[in-house]
Amino acid sequence: MEIARNLIALLFFPSGLFLLAAGMFYEWVDRKLLAQYQNRIGPRWFQPLADFVKLLAKEEIIPEGSNPYLFIILPVIALAGGLTAALYVPVFGVPPAHSFNGDLIVTIYLLSLLTLCMGLAGSNTMDRFSLVGATRTLTQLFAYEAPFLLALLGPALAAGSWQIGEITIYTSQRWLILTQPLGFIVVVIGLMGKLELPPFDAPEAETEIVAGALTEYSGRGLALFRLGKGVELVVGLTLIAAFYLGGVSNPLFFLLKTLALLLVIAGLQALLARLRIDQTVGLWWRYGALLVLVQWIFMIGGRMIL
C-alpha cells in the first residue's frame, strides 16, 4: 500500500503527470499574459503541448565533439530535479507528499539542478554560442542564488523550522508579505532570474548568442528542458505563495494566488528591458543581497526587542 501511494505521488499526483500538465498550463498563461501586455494576441491554450509533441517527434541531433551520454542524460536530470522538488512543496494546495526536517534546503537545491544542467549542457558542446551562454547561465546562478536562498529562509526563521510543511502551517495564518516585504520582492525577482525570464534573459539573449546554452539542443532534449522550466515555474510560484501570501491551504487558493503572482511576473517581463550579464550580477550583489540583509536585520532586531 505504501509503495502504491508513493508511486502515485511520484508518477501521477502531485508530482508526475499532473505537474507536467500544470507546467504547460502555467507556461501558456505566462506567454498569453505577456502577449496581452505587449499588444499581441498570444498563443492558443494548447500551444505548449503542441510544441512539446512536435519536439518529441523531431530528430535529436547529437553534435560532434560532445559527450553523447551527458548530452542525453542532462535534460532528464533537470526535469527529474523539478519533479522531485514538487514532492516537498504543497503544490495544488495539498500538503507535501514527503516531508523531513530541513527539506527546504533540499528543495531549493533541487530547483537549482535545472540551471546547473543547462550550464553543463552548454559547456558540453563545442558551439561558441553555447559556451558563452553556459558561462552566462552559471554566472547568473552565482548572482541570484544567495539572495534568493536568504529570502526563502526569512519565513523559515519566522516559523522557527526548516521544514516546508511546518512553515506553511505557520504562514497559513499570516501574510508574511506584510511583515517581510523586502524578502518578497527579492524572492519574486529571484524566481525570474532562476527561470531566465526578461530582464534576466541575458543567458539566452537571441540577438547575441542565438539560444544560449541550449543552442545545440533539438528534439527530445530541448522538449525536456522546456518542460523542466515549466515545472520549476509552478514549484517556484507555489513556494512563494505558500511562504509569503498566506499559504495555499486549498486548490482554489493555490490557483488564485499563483496566478496573481504570475500576473505580476508577466507584467515585470513586459516592463523591463534585458540587462547585460555584468549588470545582472551587479544588481543582485549590490541591491538584492543588501535588501535581504536589511530584512534579516529587521527580523533579528525585532526578535531581540520583543
Binding site: P63, V132, T207, A273, L275
Partner: protein, 398 residues
C-alpha cells in the same frame, strides 16, 4: 563547428545567418570573456547587380528597378533618380508634384524610423517597445497605402512628376494619422530618455565622438547624434526643401541614447513638415513630359534618405538607356563606425551598436571585377554578369 581558440580569446561569428540580423552580413567578433577585442565585417552576400541591370533598361524601366534597391526607403531612391534625370533632361516637375514628393518622403522617414525603433529595442531586449512601435507604424503605413495604393514600394514618383494626388479626404486622413503619431512619439521620447533599465543599455554605450564621426565619414542620424550637422535637406536643399526648410536635430552625446533621441525627434519634425506641406500645397499639373532620349551628359544627385546621405551619379549617352547609374547608400558610410565602436565594448552591446546605424545590407553590396593577371581593363556586360551569377549559385565559384 570548430572552435577557434587563441589563448583565452575566441571568435563568435555573427551572420550571415543569425537571429540578430534580418539581412545577410558576416561579423567575426573576437571576444575575451565578454569584452570584444577585435571585429571584422564581411559584406557582399546580397549583391544583386542592379547598377549593371540599370544599363540594360530604358529611363522609365530603370526607375522601377532602382525603387527596389531598398524595401524600406524605396521612395527616396526613386526621388533621387527622378530629380537627377530631370536635371539631365533640363526639365523641372511642377511645384505640386515636388510638394507631394517631399510629403511621401517625409512619411517614409517616419515609417523607416519607427521600424528602426522597434528593431533597435528588440536588439536591446526590450520587446514591449518593439511591439508598440510597430503597432503605431501601421498608422503611417495606412496613410501611405491610402495615398499610393501600396504599403512598401509606393511607386509615387514618375519621371517628370508624381502619380498620386492629394484630395481633401486624404488631407484629413493624413492630419488625423499624424496627430495620433505625434502623441505616441512624444511618449516614446519619454521612454527612451527615462526608462532606467533601458538607459542602462543605451546611455554611454557605443559612444562616437564628433571627431570620430567626421573622420569615419558617418552620415545621417548616426552623425547627427554625434553633433555633426550633416543634413542634405539643409546643406543642399532639393525639391521642396528650399521653401519648407527642416530643422537639423542634433545631439551631443554620440551614444546610443542620442541616436534614439535624434531619430524620434526627426519623426516629430517630419510630422511638422508634412503639416506645413498640406497647408501650403500649390495647385497645378502633376506631370510634365520627359523626352525619351536624353542627350549625353552626367550629373550627381544627393538626397537625405532616412539613414543618411544617398548619392546618385547618372550618366546619359543620347540613347533611351542610361550609360551608367552609380548609387552610394548611407549604410556603407556608417559601417566602418560599427567596427570601430565594437572594439572594447561588451559582446551583449554589439547587436544594439550595429542596429544603432540602422544598417541596410543588401542596399550597399557592390562588386568590382579585378583581373590581376591581365592588364586590360575589363567591364562585364549584363549577360556575362548574369551567367556568372548562375554559375556561382550552381557551386562553380571561380
Amino acid at each position: 563547428m570548430q572552435k577557434k581558440m587563441t589563448g583565452e580569446q575566441f571568435t563568435v561569428p555573427i551572420g550571415p545567418q543569425h537571429p540578430a540580423l534580418k539581412e545577410p552580413a558576416h561579423f567575426s567578433i573576437t571576444v575575451d570573456g565578454e569584452i570584444v577585442t577585435n571585429a571584422f565585417v564581411r559584406l557582399g552576400y546580397a549583391h544583386r547587380g542592379i547598377e549593371k541591370a540599370a544599363e540594360e533598361r530604358n529611363w522609365v524601366q530603370t526607375q522601377y528597378l532602382l525603387e527596389r534597391i531598398c524595401g524600406i526607403c524605396s521612395h527616396i531612391h526613386s526621388t533621387a533618380y527622378c530629380l537627377g534625370v530631370e536635371k539631365l533632361a533640363g526639365i523641372e516637375a511642377s511645384p505640386r508634384a515636388q510638394a507631394i514628393r517631399v510629403l511621401v518622403a517625409e512619411l517614409e522617414r517616419i515609417h523607416s524610423h519607427l521600424l528602426w525603433l522597434g528593431v533597435a529595442a528588440h536588439e536591446a531586449g526590450f520587446d514591449t517597445l518593439f511591439m508598440y512601435s510597430w503597432r503605431d507604424r501601421e498608422s503611417v503605413m495606412d496613410i501611405l497605402e491610402g495615398l499610393s495604393g501600396n504599403r512598401v514600394n509606393y511607386s509615387a514618383n514618375l519621371l517628370g512628376g508624381v502619380k498620386c494626388d492629394i484630395d481633401s479626404a486624404q488631407d484629413e486622413a493624413i492630419r488625423k494619422g499624424l496627430e495620433f503619431l505625434k502623441e505616441r512619439l512624444k511618449h516614446y521620447l519619454d521612454i527612451v530618455t527615462s526608462d532606467a533599465l533601458f538607459l542602462l543599455r543605451t546611455r554611454g554605450i557605443g559612444v562616437m565622438t564628433r571627431n570620430q564621426a567626421e573622420v569615419l565619414g558617418a552620415v545621417g542620424p548616426t552623425a547627427r547624434a554625434s553633433n555633426v550637422a550633416r543634413e542634405i535637406r539643409v546643406e543642399a536643399p532639393y525639391s521642396m526643401y528650399m521653401e519648407i526648410p527642416p530643422i537639423i536635430i542634433l545631439e551631443t552625446n554620440g551614444d546610443l541614447e542620442a541616436r534614439f533621441v535624434v531619430r524620434i525627434k526627426e519623426m516629430i519634425e517630419s510630422c511638422r513638415l508634412i503639416n506645413e506641406i498640406l497647408d501650403y500645397l500649390p495647385p497645378g499639373e502633376l506631370t510634365v513630359r520627359v523626352p525619351r532620349r536624353i542627350k549625353p551628359a552626367e550629373t550627381i544627385m544627393r538626397v537625405e534618405a532616412p539613414r543618411g546621405e544617398l548619392f546618385y551619379f547618372i550618366k546619359s549617352n543620347g540613347t533611351d538607356k542610361p550609360e551608367r547609374v552609380r548609387v552610394r547608400t548611407p549604410t556603407i558610410c556608417n559601417m566602418t563606425s560599427v567596427v570601430k565602436l565594437a572594439i572594447g565594448s561588451q559582446l551583449a552591446d554589439i547587436p544594439v551598436i550595429l542596429a544603432g546605424i540602422d544598417p541596410c545590407f543588401s542596399c550597399n553590396d557592390r562588386s568590382v571585377l579585378v583581373d590581376r593577371r591581365g592588364n586590360k581593363a575589363c567591364i562585364w556586360t549584363w549577360e556575362e554578369l548574369r551567367q556568372y551569377g548562375i554559375r556561382y549559385y550552381y557551386g562553380d565559384r571561380t
